[in-house]
Symmetry: C2
Subunit: 324 residues, 2 copies
Amino acid sequence: MPLNTYLEAINNELEGYSYGENPPELYAPIKYLMSIGGKRLRPALTLMAANMWLYKWQKALKPALAVEVFHNFTLMHDDIMDNAPARRGKPTVHEKWDVNTAILSGDVMLVAAYKLLENVEDSVFKKVFSRFNQTASEVCEGQMMDMDFAIRKNVSKEEYIEMIRLKTSVLLGYALELGGLIAEADEESVKLLYSIGENMGIGFQLKDDILDVYADPKKFGKQVGGDIIENKKTWLLLHALEVSENLSEGARLREWLKKTSFDPMEKVSDVREIFNSLEIKPAAEALSVHYFDIAFAALDKLNVSEEKKQPLKAFGLQLLNREN
Amino acid sequence: MPLNTYLEAINNELEGYSYGENPPELYAPIKYLMSIGGKRLRPALTLMAANMWLYKWQKALKPALAVEVFHNFTLMHDDIMDNAPARRGKPTVHEKWDVNTAILSGDVMLVAAYKLLENVEDSVFKKVFSRFNQTASEVCEGQMMDMDFAIRKNVSKEEYIEMIRLKTSVLLGYALELGGLIAEADEESVKLLYSIGENMGIGFQLKDDILDVYADPKKFGKQVGGDIIENKKTWLLLHALEVSENLSEGARLREWLKKTSFDPMEKVSDVREIFNSLEIKPAAEALSVHYFDIAFAALDKLNVSEEKKQPLKAFGLQLLNREN
């Protein structure tokens, strides 16, 4: 199936789905957040994986939505914690309503994700459920590490990779694994699917961090340079600090990190220049490609026909080469 | 089994249970909240129900904890929303740590409740799971109504009962139902169990509202009069407003509701006097007893021996007659 077939099915199903009705102010924020967009890449992964074994990939549609609803629940709560005013160019839920509503709608949204899992067949349900629980806990652990890193002085590159693995990648791994479980794929294939998603996820997030510094503002959805402005300890910054320890660039970079009052444009452009002279971008790209390579190698090992693997491979390449 | 046997088993199991380890600041608030007490009445209900059919009620222990952990998750988030400084005489999680930690620990605590459900046998799991989802959604709906009532001008007594049914009673209903489901009781019995818990729950909450106004401060855990001080629209206040519409007491009561600056002791004592002259307490007690009666009638109908029903009956009477 071409990717668009899955995306259409996902968006159709989401449009018709009711998360609940009363009281309206509890459920309206869910409808709102789910309606303002998103790439839907997690449920697409589930359907792609299911379709490697299952002719009727539609069977995996509702469970695939569980992953998407869960992901959006984390966004609703993360946006409170990050005090974010906007998401996908629209006001965040806690801005449009209030913090209490965002907490409580988020809670019921997490329950709504579990409700969608009710559509999994009994034979594989226990496994799907326990792996979902594990993944959901890990995503929370990753978010806690992320918040912790913001106030910590020293974070290693290894810790950063572990944080993004938990916060982002395990859910991509689970999305693929879920498709395999629903299609009743063999255990080895299910493990490979998870590993594909997990490694693609790390590569994907590293690519995100690169784009945050280097994207073409005309193509990028968010403000370019946001991470630099707020001293976000991404792999790029951590690597730059490491390799510049005894260089003049290191001193310049540390100066910028200490400044509390500055022209944002100037900071972004100068830090980018420092990164350039330290060759941070090619290093980060190589690492991103490294994780995608692990994912593609796992995909190669999967015991299904090349034709069946093709959509996921194309999708991975698209993530790797995206410019926004 | 005497109640204490269940409570001991519950507290033992809770003490040994690990919700997760890393990062510590994510899981420490869960351990903290679970360790500062609580009556554990919900898991006790589950075990009591299970033991009506099941000799090995211990089988229901971990799922019973799911209900207790879920309940405490709602407390952690409700305390943020209510801006509550203390819970069970100790600082609330968002006070001891911070709001973000309380949001995120609460999230992973909800997942931890689901994890505990993994211990239910496959044959009844789907039913246990879907009913848990339904109940969890309803509890959130009740909390939203509660917050909404605080800012609304007019709330009817019927709406208040529906709010406490959702916020409090459905979980008591589910606690009993869960015991029946695990013991593989017949469908009719499971329905009766739910109805017992649901109606006891409404009676229990009404009793709580009465105690908030009339408890002996030496015996009551919380500050007596808290609801009066903050104009909480309980059944007692709503009923008092209704029956006093054309009386001098009504005018006096409305005066108190409008005052923004007052001596709390004076407000509590005068509003209590108004309630007394309007005979609010006996009316509320009659209604509480009415719901307990429905519960006891359902308990009578249950198709198990009197001996098996005895602990739950004793427990209900204890809730009905409690003074704190």
